[in-house]
Symmetry: C2
């Protein structure tokens, strides 16, 4: 394979660099913010979600695979080191319940929980259908991404609702975004990568208002519909991602998202409630 000019062979992929937590023994894991994952203030929320999930995945007591992940963002993670406490709260025959706290010194940056599960063959059926869109190869990668670092860690191919251009934008009656997305440089999909991708949608209030306002995710929940084998089968090809809001009021709104494999299976659904300033 020809060397990828974007990724020297001697360096970790930026996602793997972020996920390289250091086990400190017991339930404690040390990590460090990386400038590559920076958002307006502190790191991209998706990378924090991936960090918490990764702590459980690295824990020697872990059983099963991710089914549900909730992250509550209590305050921006400051530049530098942090510690994650990942506690097993209960293990049953089919599920394992986790509780997370991310701290810098004594300050709680985020809390969260996860449920891991053992999947087994059952009756299966889709309900929500994948939106009809042109294949990723027919949608050009986006230009004009915002000045933060984290959007450079993804390839965005917007079908609808691309990066807002606040110079020409106006109020819109709806906030739907539809895009093909994958890690940049491409990287095989796994659960931490999917947990991060679930947060790639810029705040829906930008799209509705056609203007910038300070905004940040308060709480993020992702449900995983695919096991490791199904995620591996997706490889590094783009996922179809859809997001939209429900109600904006009194400084908060919620938005929901779906992430689809390129052959039409729902891999995850994700929901968040978001703060906005005015």
């Amino acid at each position: 394979m020809a060397p990828d000019p974007d990724m020297p062979a001697t360096e970790l992929h930026p996602l793997d660099a972020a996920l390289a937590l250091q086990p400190l023994g017991g339930d404690r894991f040390a990590g460090r913010t990386l400038p590559e994952w920076g958002n307006m203030v502190g790191p991209f929320g998706g990378i924090t979600a991936a960090h918490l999930l990764q702590a459980a995945l690295l824990h020697p007591g872990r059983r099963g695979e991710p089914l549900a992940l909730t992250v509550n963002f209590a305050g921006a993670v400051g530049e530098g080191g942090f510690e994650i406490e990942a506690r097993i709260m209960r293990t049953t025959r089919t599920t394992q319940h986790w509780s997370f706290v991310q701290r810098q010194g004594e300050v709680v940056c985020s809390t969260g929980s996860a449920v891991f599960a053992l999947r087994r063959p059952t009756w299966s059926a889709p309900e929500l259908a994948m939106p009809a869109v042109p294949p990723a190869a027919q949608v050009p990668p986006a230009r004009g991404e915002p000045p933060m670092q984290w959007p450079r860690r993804y390839e965005f191919r917007f079908v609808e609702g691309g990066w807002p251009d606040f110079r020409h934008a106006r109020e819109e009656p709806e906030s739907r975004t539809l895009l093909w997305v994958r890690d940049a440089p491409p990287r095989p999909l796994d659960a931490p990568a999917l947990a991060a991708i679930a947060d790639v949608f810029y705040p829906r209030v930008f799209r509705r208002r056609g203007r910038f306002t300070p905004a940040g995710t308060i709480s993020l929940t992702t449900y995983f519909h695919a096991d490791a084998a199904a995620l591996a089968a997706q490889g590094d090809r783009p996922l179809l991602a859809a997001a939209g809001g429900r109600r904006f009021t009194l400084g908060f709104f919620d938005q929901s998202a779906e992430l689809w494999s390129d052959d039409g299976h729902l891999l995850a659904s994700s929901h968040q409630v978001v703060y906005f300033k005015e």
Copy 2:
């Protein structure tokens, strides 16, 4: 006011009876299961969600009002007493982050988290529109509810997707349910009542398959779009409630729900991932 024949003046409303937690000092609260709220195994998940939220509401350190609530159901709550630990993890200028553990003895029954928030006037707008339905008064209350106790704590007026009749049911291509619902006997709406109502939708797999299979909520997340004044304005009139599934696979599925005031405002959206046996 004339006495309500359904609710003797000397008895607490069944929801208030369930919410009468006993503060044990610090972050600890004692509660007790009530047969009125029984499900197939253990209590109705919605009442557990209301219990956790109520512990935060009773805590003297509480600031703000509910914005997000996540409950992870680790195992059925056994008949009898339980204890809830409700810890404030961080309080910021506009949010307060909570962590919950519900135990019986040493056994963890549920875990969870909440974010409380201070709301303030901002740009506001709906995005999802309330489904067009006949008013509650034109939809007769449902008959034929299942044999568990908790459905008797609600008045269900199904517009679409009522209680499954497994004798005559068949596989369905979708699992949507639409109904008017309120506490029975009627009770003014507040946040714990809304947290419980968010879980009144029977498992969507029943509707899709047209047959019974053991099933139970694993994780439930509800976002609140209304402050105490907006909930009080709804009074004891029926809410419009809609729910549907996304994907059913390998023993788990997810479903999402919206709860609307009768004048068309989205009061809450709620999401859950559910286990099913076969």
